[in-house]
């Protein structure tokens, strides 16, 4: 185990990604109990200020402290990432499992359904759902999660197709294992590596999508802080207060960069064959 950890930390991409991600998690955890200012406290005298001692990253159009709001925004980003990927993995693995294991017409119908779902990137589902339900965090999570469905379903299906006729599976079946046991105990554990890698790739994509949806006004609603929503508010004051648009965007880009590097590193470490 120690050797594996040492090997991981020597991997530069992984180490940098890990460091940035750890910083993100710490920031989010810290913001739950401490922020420099109250992220919702307004002050008319302190509107649209640049960085200063009182406000390290400046203030927004209501004089709220940007650093505090960015810190709390990290919680939103992580929450949406985790739940959206969770929806994609949960439903996707379930459908892919049935498709790959049973095959036949069920497989055909599920795969055409996945082709159809692929026509709905998060932004389209969000538009559609927001037209009939109130925009908010839940819509964001569902829309992003649904957009991940096809990739997880296909990965699981491919792994099941490859494994279902292998000797160890046939042996299990010959010994009297039922479908549920064969799937749950023998095949599913062998499909985990590609699913973990894909989940690590999807996580930053979810964070980007959340930011975009909040920017459009379809996600997190004011006064709650979300990085995308902050950029939406910053756009109106671009000429007066450029910092307002720079810092939340930097937070998104840095987070996504860290998670991407972590994912790349993870892929190299889990599967040396894929190294390029």
């Amino acid at each position: 185990m120690n050797r594996a950890i040492r090997r991981a930390l020597r991997h530069v991409t992984f180490a940098v990604g890990f460091a940035i991600t750890a910083l993100l998690l710490l920031t989010a955890a810290l913001s739950l109990s401490y922020t420099p200012r109250d992220p919702l406290e307004m002050s008319m005298e302190a509107r649209l200020q640049g960085p200063s001692e009182a406000h390290l990253l400046g203030t927004d159009q209501f004089g709220r402290d940007l650093l505090s709001r960015i810190m709390v925004g990290a919680v939103t980003a992580i929450l949406v990432g985790v739940i959206a990927v969770g929806i994609g993995v949960g439903l996707g693995v379930f459908l892919g499992m049935l498709s790959g294991y049973f095959g036949g017409w069920l497989d055909e119908v599920f795969m055409r359904l996945m082709d159809a779902v692929q026509g709905f990137p998060a932004i389209l589902s969000a538009l559609l759902i927001a037209s009939v339900f109130k925009p908010g965090l839940a819509i964001t999570m569902i829309a992003i999660g649904v957009s991940f469905l096809p990739i997880f379903a296909r990965l699981t299906r491919a792994a099941f197709l490859e494994l279902r006729d292998r000797e160890f599976v046939m042996a299990a079946r010959a010994l009297g294992a039922g479908d549920a046991a064969v799937i749950g105990r023998h095949i599913l554990p062998n499909t985990l590596a590609p699913l973990i890698v894909q989940a690590s790739i999807s996580f930053p994509v979810a964070i980007l999508a959340e930011a975009a949806l909040s920017y459009l006004g379809l996600g997190t609603q004011p006064p709650n802080p979300s990085w995308g929503l902050m950029l939406r508010e910053a756009q109106a004051f671009l000429g007066m207060s450029p910092w307002f648009a720079v810092f939340p965007g930097t937070a998104i880009a840095l987070t996504v960069l860290g998670l991407n590097l972590l994912g790349d590193g993870l892929r190299d470490l889990l599967d040396p064959k894929m190294m390029s």
Binding site: P121, L127, A130, F133, L231, A253
Partner: protein, 303 residues
């Protein structure tokens, strides 16, 4: 393909017409008089059984009739066509910029594998996939219109003012839109080319003394183009969806702003029409890419 499109329409229908209970109530709001709600239900055919409504809706949609906009009182299809004059050029421009920049960069990185040029190119692409497109758009506005004053910060005068000024107002949005997909395509190009460069026939060509330039462009790149084109094709659909976001950043009157405005106005037929149109477009592009893949690579055959 047909089954897939049918599923697309079913998903749109279920979300807009079935999940919310009464679409008429959503369009008019809860304060609406029962009379008005009843009239709208009648005119939209909402008082008939749901399966009948679906069959009627999809039957009309198949012939290009997407219903009437509540807000503008014109056919939805006409609205979509008029807004496509912005969304389509924006998407194509972003795609052209993406291909023109990504493929040379990918080739450059692959031919300098594990040397500085490769690392620099991959670092650049790493930033490309980390920066949200709409933020890139804001930064471009900040630099080129607020600071330098070279471009307007947004808006679109239409094609009537001459193609030059129209293309100019689409340039910054196209750059911001294409950035993410550019980075993805550059990485794809690099890894596809690296894969092919490891093949035996490339070694043979080199052993025969073929010039390195010719090995790369005449022998390797041709085969590497198959995965590259596949990815680029799928990206076309992604760009179309992404344009919805960039239109908002630059105040461009395209499909995305049409749909967002319709959400505010509770104009369900418009949202339904735009989403159905874009989703069908993406699904069709993906299917075309699948077919193209088989044509380009004779080793792949579909039963």
């Amino acid at each position: 393909m047909l089954l897939t499109l049918l599923f697309v329409s079913l998903l749109v229908f279920v979300v807009v017409r079935v999940l919310p209970g009464d679409p008429a109530l959503i369009m008019l709001g809860i304060e609406a008089s029962p009379d008005a709600v009843a009239r709208l239900r009648e005119s939209l055919g909402l008082n008939r059984p749901v399966p009948v409504q679906y069959v009627e809706w999809i039957g009309r949609a198949a012939f290009g009739d997407l219903g009437r906009s509540i807000q503008y009182d014109v056919p939805v299809a006409g609205l979509i066509v008029s807004r496509l004059a912005v969304t389509l050029p924006l998407t194509l421009m972003a795609a052209a910029l993406m291909v023109a920049a990504a493929i040379p960069l990918g080739i450059y990185a692959a031919t300098r594998h594990r040397r500085w040029g490769d690392y620099a190119a991959m670092t650049l692409s790493q930033f490309g996939i980390s920066v949200p497109g709409f933020w890139a758009g804001l930064l471009l506005i900040l630099l080129f219109s607020v600071k330098l004053g070279w471009f307007r910060s947004g808006g679109f005068d239409g094609w009537g003012q001459g193609a030059g000024s129209a293309l100019k107002s689409l340039l910054l949005p196209a750059v911001a839109l294409g950035l993410f997909q550019f980075a993805v395509l550059a990485r794809t190009t690099r890894s596809a080319l690296l894969e092919v460069l490891r093949e035996e026939y490339v070694k043979t060509a080199r052993a025969k003394g073929v010039a390195e330039r010719s090995v790369i462009f005449r022998h390797a790149l041709k085969n590497a183009m198959i995965p590259i084109l596949t990815v680029a094709g799928v990206q076309l659909g992604q760009l179309m969806a992404g344009s919805i976001i960039l239109e908002s950043v630059f105040y461009l009157p395209g499909l995305g702003r049409l749909a967002l405005g319709a959400i505010g106005a509770r104009d369900l037929p418009v949202v339904q029409g735009v989403v159905l149109f874009v989703a069908s477009g993406i699904v069709t592009i993906n299917a075309a890419v699948d077919v193209l893949y088989g044509v380009l690579d004779p080793r792949i055959r579909y039963e």
